[in-house]
Amino acid sequence: MKEAFKGRVWKLGDDIDTDIIIPTQFLALKTVEDMKKYAFNPLRPELAAQIQPGDIIVAGKNFGCGSSREQAPEILAALKISCIIAKSYARIFYRNAFNNGLLLLENNELYDYCSEGDHVSVQLESSQVLLGEKSFEVASIPTDLLQMVEAGGLVPFMRKRNGK
């Protein structure tokens, strides 16, 4: 896991639910690569094609609420979003994201200060997010969770356990 990185911001609102992240009608597509084109389809159908590797999603409260569909964090990881910075997350999405190697950070104020298209810098070691001159503190992530993200998620972690 890179300790510091910078990315362009896509800004989404409160309660971005998993049906918005990936609607049910696309869940039976064969691969996550097929599905990722439909990320955020009901809300912003054009967005998935515009997201570039390394981009950052900044959102309001309760990001990922709704269903347990793990394709939600999986397609965001497949779009190579470097992290999400939201005011808060729904529980199942939170676990699923880390299990798929997707980093989630929490901050209450950044959302109100940043605009779409801004560039923010994330510094994991100091738990800071920088927007221009202003810095925002994010809750630090427990080391074992960071290690799991670094390893690529729960699958590689279990492979190791199984001596594979």
Partner: protein, 417 residues
């Protein structure tokens, strides 16, 4: 210091004499449920992780419900993969067309009070209604359980809802949970346990209690539990004396306690497109609707079909209005047919869908187009949930939905009761 019901279930499972909210621990999984949409992914992750044998084939239940009956050519792939895995791993419990997973798990007694259960679906919280700790997880964690039989959890703090008194006529458990969601918000229970108690809850049937626990996740909750009682033990076919520990202590530590007087509840509706956007039915009278939907793991049980039939008996739904009815399980469908309920619904103009998830998750059986407005008994009214993102979904009790279908607009169901 005392313990909450949720803590008691975790203590029973881990054989510990104390647990504290916020503590991380491993639980021994009593049962898991995987539905057809996620089965191929669980199988794939299980293999990628390097496992060969599941920890216990008798503790795994497969339910095909999201893709039943199949709507697209690709759907059957999910069933084939799950069937092959079940055969290989000697998993006997595979339900191919018996109903919605969350109805079947308690109905067929795969879950009984005091158990710790996980499912690859957020509405796994439903089984809290019979006093189990049950919640939804993703397919990667499910694959890890398939291999190990364990999962780490964080002991959640509890929000307790005490509801006392008699519910007014025309008011159901759906109205209770919608009001609570409106009060605490769609993230008001995140990471927490919700516990429902009081004389009103005691008076509810197991079916009505399941509606409460089912929607606990709509507040972000990990579980939505109800103390098991004689009704629960009879439903689950267990001896109550074995479960006397499953009670919250009088001095249990709650994060917050909410008190409600049942007589203050009214028929309510969750307006588009959030479950916590609650309005009294009275404030929406006359709102035109194009389609009603009665069904799902929230409200597709016998009593739900029965109240709809009571309202629709001898009447016809409004012209240009559709009413989709989906019993939650095969046995409910059969029982309702025997009782004459299905005949009443069909004669009134309802379209009967087979017992499965169907319209609730926008896969089949009544997909809506731009500008259409639906009033439905299921649990989510998210943008585009039932089809077009330019449609609108209102959530309400089966009585409110049936009455709306009759008039083609939102009306007070009490005038038909």
């Amino acid at each position: 210091m005392g313990y909450t019901l949720t803590e008691k279930i975790i203590m029973r499972n881990t054989k510990r004499s104390s647990v504290t909210a916020g503590e991380l621990l491993n639980v021994n999984v009593d049962r898991v449920m995987v539905h057809d949409i996620f089965a191929p992914f669980v199988v794939e992750k299980f293999r990628e992780m390097g496992f060969e044998k599941v920890w216990n084939p008798d503790k795994i239940v497969f339910v095909y419900d999201h893709l039943v009956p199949t709507s697209f050519i690709e759907d059957f792939r999910h069933h084939k993969i799950a069937d092959a895995f079940a055969a290989e791993q000697h998993i006997k419990a595979v339900h191919r067309a018996d109903g919605v997973c969350h109805q079947l798990m308690p109905e067929l007694r795969y879950v009984v009070p005091g158990q710790v259960v996980f499912g690859t679906d957020s509405h796994t919280t439903t089984y809290g209604a019979i006093g189990s700790f049950s919640t939804g997880i993703g397919y990667t964690e499910m694959a890890a359980i398939f291999g190990t039989g364990e999962l780490w959890i964080k002991v959640p703090p509890t929000l307790k809802f005490i509801i006392n008194g008699e519910l007014p006529q025309g008011v159901y458990s759906k109205d209770i949970i919608l009001r609570i969601l409106g009060d605490i918000g769609a993230d008001g229970g995140t990471y927490k346990a919700l516990e429902f108690g009081g004389s009103t809850i005691k008076g509810l049937s197991i079916s009505s209690r399941m509606t409460l626990s089912n929607m606990a996740v709509e507040a972000g909750a990990k579980v939505g539990v109800i103390e098991p009682d004689e009704k629960t033990f009879a439903f689950s076919g267990v001896e109550g004396s074995q479960f006397q520990d499953l009670k919250s202590d009088p001095d249990a530590n709650y994060e917050k306690v909410f008190y409600y007087d049942a007589s203050t509840f009214k028929p309510v509706v969750a307006c588009p497109s959030n479950v916590d956007n609650i309005s009294d039915v009275e404030a929406l009278l006359g709102t035109k609707i194009d389609q009603g939907f009665i069904g799902s793991c929230t409200n597709g049980r016998f009593e739900d079909l029965e109240v709809a039939a009571k309202i629709l008996k001898g009447r016809k739904i409004a012209p240009f209005t559709k009413l989709i009815v989906t019993p939650a399980s095969r046995s409910i469908y059969a029982e309702a047919a025997k009782a004459g309920i299905i005949g009443i619904l069909v004669e009134a103009g309802a379209i009967m869908n087979p017992p499965a998830c169907g319209l609730c998750c926008g896969r089949s059986g009544g997909i809506v187009s731009d500008g259409e407005r639906v009033i439905a008994t299921n649990n989510r009214n998210f943008l585009g949930r039932m089809g077009s993102p330019k449609s609108e979904i209102f959530l309400a009790s089966p009585a409110t939905v049936a009455a709306a279908a009759l008039e083609g607009k939102i009306v007070d169901p009490r005038k038909y009761l």
